[in-house]
């Protein structure tokens, strides 16, 4: 038999036995290496007659290229097999679905952030004032003189006769208006203090004060602004209702109700069947306050509102008890980290 045919046959048998890329490489060296079978075969060419040599040489070359092709094919097959084996072996249990938690912002901060975002988009500055405040800014500048009945509305913590823990973020109104002239659009979030401590009151709570002073500001603007806040904080269908009320630093003064976010106004236990939830107090800035801060009340109007942050958070997130906010059980806070 022709030597090349014989070699090819043997090669094919050995190729068949090859189970890995390493064995394939060994096979390649055995046949096509520097001292491999094919090379050895080629060495015999010098013993052949001159006229046969070219034919023999061509045969060897064609054998070489056939072996190369077979090796390459086998290599592809083995690689594919190895990939498959690797994929089979590389398995992991993906069933565990507990989520690594983020830290959470406190719900009071979440509401404050949301309100700030809404108000900043409307051109409001976000400012903060001192928590330990003078009687003047907390009361007198807001048209609440010493023996005014409105002082009874707020049980005040005093440090001295004239220094107290602010009972309302409204204390920031006069501070700002003394420094800045209209147009003014400001909100002031922060802690306020009243000496109440029971299931529904906390001696410390948070308010956000809003103040706008400019020419041509009307009660309709107050309503429109609150409607926008309500639509952004709750949903676009939320309605705003005004009821008459009294605050010494606004005139007219209103209590502001929103359609209950729980039942959409149909009436439920949250809104005690009324379909409305009282969320804040507001009104047109009392001219006394403007004049007192050196802003001409004949030229300028303004509106102001003050909302309780805990109350909004309780409504928005369904938190049942104000004391949860200050207990800071990590399981409470974590719920808001999503």
């Amino acid at each position: 038999m022709d030597q090349t045919v014989e070699l090819l046959m043997v090669f094919k048998q050995e190729l068949e036995q090859c189970g890995s890329l390493q064995q394939l490489q060994d096979l390649r060296v055995k046949y096509l290496g520097k001292v491999g079978e094919v090379t050895n075969l080629l060495k015999g060419i010098k013993d052949l007659p001159a006229d046969v040599r070219p034919v023999f040489g061509a045969k060897i070359n064609s054998l070489r290229s056939e072996l190369e092709t077979l090796l390459a094919d086998k290599s592809s097959t083995l690689k594919a097999k190895e990939m498959q084996l690797r994929l089979q072996n590389e398995q992991t249990d993906i069933s565990l679905n507990s989520v690594a938690d983020w830290g959470a912002l406190h719900p009071i901060t979440l509401i404050e952030n949301k309100i700030c975002e809404i108000m900043v988009s409307m051109g409001f500055e976000v400012l903060s004032g001192p928590e330990i405040e003078t009687d003047y800014y907390n009361f007198k500048a807001l048209n609440i003189p010493e023996d005014h009945p409105a002082r009874d509305m707020q049980d005040t913590f005093y440090i001295t006769d004239n220094i107290l823990l602010r009972t309302q973020t409204s204390a920031m109104q006069a501070r700002l208006m003394e420094k800045k002239k209209p147009p003014i659009k400001m909100i002031c979030p922060g802690k306020v203090f009243r000496s109440d401590n029971d299931a529904s009151h906390s001696p410390v709570f948070h308010q956000i004060e809003g103040l706008v002073v400019d020419k041509h500001i009307t009660l309709c603007d107050l309503k429109g602004t609150l409607e926008y806040i309500a639509s952004q904080l709750f949903d676009s269908k939320t309605k705003v209702r005004f009821r008459p009320s009294f605050f010494p630093f606004t005139e007219p003064s209103v209590e502001v109700d929103l359609t209950c976010s729980n039942c959409g106004g149909k009436g439920c236990s949250l809104c005690k069947g009324t379909g409305w939830i009282e969320v804040l107090g507001a009104g047109m800035v009392n001219p006394f306050v403007l004049d007192n801060c050196g802003i001409d009340s004949a030229k300028y109007n303004g509106f102001a509102f003050g909302m309780g942050v805990e109350r909004l958070a309780m409504i928005k997130y369904g938190i049942p008890d104000i004391r949860l906010f200050y207990e800071n059980d990590q399981r409470f806070i974590k719920q808001f980290g999503k």
């Binding site: 400019d214 602004t225 906010f325």
Partner: protein, 790 residues
């Protein structure tokens, strides 16, 4: 303010059902806190007439009656023997509920059918003030005029509502039946009747009986007196006592009842003195002497001081002004001559005295809300009218008047102002009709609104007050939302420091820390727990009137409240705590406070079940997000473990500290897990905030890392060794990657392994370059710190 519906109806015709009435009251600003139907506890009880009474066949003490309940005759068995045939009595029928909680069902009593039970006054929840109850024993015998078959509630006055109205602080004029009636009339579009105040005077002149001197005009703005002679003190009629009963008062005698009636109806506190007890015909309204004693009608003795106001004669105090009359001058059955007092005392003064003495009354409660001199006259006239009507005596001639009578206020403003403020236009005829309905006389002429405000409306003083009156009656539902279309555009936003706070919060939550909010105050016991030695209370800003000692001192650090929270969480089994708070420390220049203190913004961070390295990384990442040039040094903060405590410096300024909680303090708080804490002074940190980020070119050539291991003394700070490398020009970074101690190394020795990255922006570094560079560092590390290469 509690008001019976029936009393309101004295002044206003009310045809609306109770729900409509309440809604309309709410709409104009009278918040209804509670609506109470007085007959709620008495259901299915009717007026019946007894037609037959027989002895019970099987029980000596029971009677078998037949009663007519309006067309039907039913059997009732009773053990009350005060009933007679022909009596009209209340009968509780099957399924009736009674005021004392009884539930009645029909059944058999000792074999005899009984369809219900006769009721006494107690079972109906009424007293002699409501209905003549006789000796109040056994079955209530009703008057002959009672209609058989009627609901008993109609007969005894229980068919009535009491509204509890929340009156806003500016509307003290509404703290009376009359005041509320005026508002209800406006809400319903009806007229409000005036109370009857006419009376005839006798020949005795009031001024011959008494002379009044106001010695403290600053706290007594008005004082009126008029009296009665030929006084007869009796029981008041039931129409009067039943009204008082509905607002919670018992009938006492006609004169005292009249003063109470006027208090509720007109809103004017009144007092009646027995004239026989006033010596020298003299009434002096004066400040009490320091140490002066008085025994008011409650029978207790109180010691007064110069801040208190008394009503006195020439010898002694006969009343504590506005709060309670003196026991020495009260009305007695034998009283023959009476002086009525109707006055205005300063609300603050009444409040302070009442508060200090712990003595309050319906009168003082009303004075504390504010009384106008307008009602002094009205109240006094009403009392005299009632006294005459009830036959209590003859009215003395003339009135002693001290104090100025308030004039009606005139307010003028442009009609345009209404639209400017409200944003809507109210038709002119509506403006006039609304204001007239409020008794504000109004004329509009050429765009000018002229108003005359009734004297009882102390709260109305300028145009915006009038406009509020307009819109609350016109209806707030007419206000349509707009978005400040005519105002100027403003630039909004947060302050830079607020934005930095937001950034820190974002980073901390990303590091899995949860935000807390605490009260910014605490008590000595808490602060002591968070300290190795008791804290000096005098350094804290103290609340004068705290809720309790534990909430009385303003924070000087955020950590005590944080640790208390860690204690609470660990006690509840919460592990892996990651907490932070942004709050304030309240730092006074001097105490007691003269100026406002500095409120220093601070950040506290706390973690349990964490390694020091992990916590340090978190603190440094947080601080470094704001400022550069962060360095650490050993800290001596008492709250920290002395060996694991670092002060944080930013650009040379100490901006906070962190470390392991001192084990003693951990014990104080019962915190058993490893606990690390940090407190950052945000104002100081933000003071070192980096400016805008500027691009720095970086090398195109590869960087090369080299590791070095040193043997050195325990005291050598790894950062010092790193710094020696970091100051080399070609060093990009240097970091510690291993630290260990062993017996072979020797006691007090440690091994530090560091990795240094070299890079040159002009070429690929060769080994020679690196050796030259590191050689310098190795030399100075050996010289300065005795650290040798291993």
């Amino acid at each position: 303010m509690k008001v019976p519906l029936s009393w309101l109806k004295e002044f206003v015709q009310i045809d609306e059902d109770i729900e409509t009435l309440c809604k309309k009251m709410v709409d104009i600003g009278l918040e209804i806190e509670e609506v109470c139907y007085l007959g709620d506890n008495v259901t299915n009880v009717k007026v019946c007439q007894i037609t037959d009474i027989k002895q019970h066949p099987n029980a000596d003490r029971l009677l078998c009656c037949k009663v007519d309940v309006g067309g039907e005759i039913i059997p009732i068995v009773t053990n009350d023997h005060n009933v007679k045939v022909g009596n009209k009595v209340p009968v509780a029928l099957h399924n009736a509920h009674l005021a004392n909680g009884l539930h009645i069902t029909k059944g058999k009593m000792r074999g005899e059918e009984s369809y219900g039970m006769f009721c006494g006054a107690e079972e109906l929840g009424i007293t002699d003030d409501w209905y003549p109850v006789g000796n109040n024993e056994g079955v209530l015998i009703l008057s002959d005029s009672a209609v058989v078959g009627d609901d008993i509630r109609k007969e005894v006055g229980l068919d009535d509502y009491v509204l509890d109205v929340a009156v806003t602080a500016n509307r003290q004029d509404c703290n009376s039946v009359l005041g509320l009636a005026r508002e209800v009339a406006v809400a319903l579009g009806k007229r409000c009747k005036q109370p009857d105040i006419d009376f005839a005077e006798n020949s005795v002149a009031t001024s011959d009986l008494v002379d009044v001197e106001i010695a403290a005009p600053d706290i007594c703005k008005g004082y009126y007196m008029q009296g009665l002679t030929d006084v007869v003190v009796e029981r008041s009629p039931r129409w009067l006592t039943s009204r008082l009963a509905k607002v919670g008062l018992h009938g006492i005698n006609s004169l005292v009842d009249i003063t109470n009636y006027v208090l509720f109806e007109i809103g004017q506190p009144m007092h009646a003195f027995d004239y026989a007890d006033i010596t020298d015909k003299k009434i002096i309204v004066r400040r009490a002497f320091d140490g002066e004693k008085i025994t008011p009608l409650d029978g207790k003795e109180y010691t007064l001081n110069n801040d208190d106001l008394v009503i006195a004669d020439n010898n002694r105090a006969v009343g504590l002004a506005g709060i309670m009359g003196g026991a020495n001058s009260g009305i007695k059955t034998q009283t023959k001559c009476v002086l009525f007092e109707s006055a205005t005392f300063a609300r603050r003064n009444i409040r302070l005295t009442g508060h200090r003495l712990g003595l309050r009354s319906d009168s003082s409660a009303r004075f504390e809300k504010g009384i106008e001199t307008y009602t002094n006259n009205l109240g006094l006239s009403r009392a005299l009218h009632l006294a005459q009507q009830l036959g209590c005596g003859k009215v003395t001639a003339g009135r002693i008047c001290n104090g100025k009578v308030e004039q009606s206020k005139q307010i003028e403003f442009s009609q345009k102002r209404i639209t400017d403020l409200l944003g809507i236009t109210i038709p002119e005829n509506r403006i006039v009709s609304i204001l007239q309905s409020l008794n504000i006389d109004t004329v509009i002429n050429e765009g000018i609104v002229k108003c005359t405000v009734p004297p009882y409306r102390d709260d109305i003083s300028r145009d915006c007050d009038i406009i509020e009156e307009l819109i609350r009656v016109y209806g707030y539902d007419n206000i349509k939302g707009t978005l400040m279309e005519k105002s100027r555009i403003t630039c909004g936003g947060k302050t830079e420091n607020d934005k930095r706070c937001d950034k820190l919060k974002t980073i901390l939550t990303g590091l899995r820390y949860n935000e807390c909010v605490f009260y910014p105050f605490g008590g000595k016991s808490l602060f002591d727990k968070a300290s190795l030695t008791p804290v000096d209370e005098s350094k804290y800003i103290r609340i004068k009137n705290p809720i309790g000692e534990e909430l009385s001192l303003m924070n000087l650090s955020l950590l005590p409240n944080m640790l208390q929270c860690v204690a609470l969480n660990t006690a509840r089994g919460n592990k892996n705590l990651r907490l932070f708070e942004m709050g304030k420390a309240y730092i006074a220049d001097s105490l007691p406070l003269r100026d406002l203190p500095y409120e220093q913004p601070r950040l506290s961070v706390c973690a349990t079940d964490v390694s020091f390295d992990e916590f340090r990384n978190c603190v440094l990442q947080t601080v470094h997000s704001v400022a550069d040039g962060i360095k650490l040094a050993r800290s001596s903060q008492q709250i920290l473990h002395p060996g694991i405590a670092a002060d944080i410096f930013a650009d040379g300024v100490c901006v906070g500290y962190f470390g392991k909680l001192h084990p003693q303090i951990a014990v104080n708080f019962d915190i058993e897990s490893e606990c690390y804490i940090a407190e950052i002074y945000l104002d100081l940190l933000f003071g070192k905030a980096r400016g805008e980020i500027k691009y720095k070119p970086f090398s195109k050539y590869p960087s090369v890392a080299r590791d070095f291991a040193f043997l050195c003394d325990e005291q050598v700070a790894a950062q010092d060794i790193l710094d020696e490398f970091l100051q080399l020009p070609l060093v990009e970074s240097a970091a510690l990657f291993d630290e260990y101690r062993s017996e072979q190394l020797g006691v007090g020795k440690k091994s530090l392994a560091i990795s240094v990255v070299f890079c040159d922006s002009t070429k690929t570094l060769q080994d020679g370059d690196i050796e030259k560079q590191s050689g310098k560092a190795l030399k100075s590390v050996a010289e300065k710190y005795g650290a040798v290469l291993r």
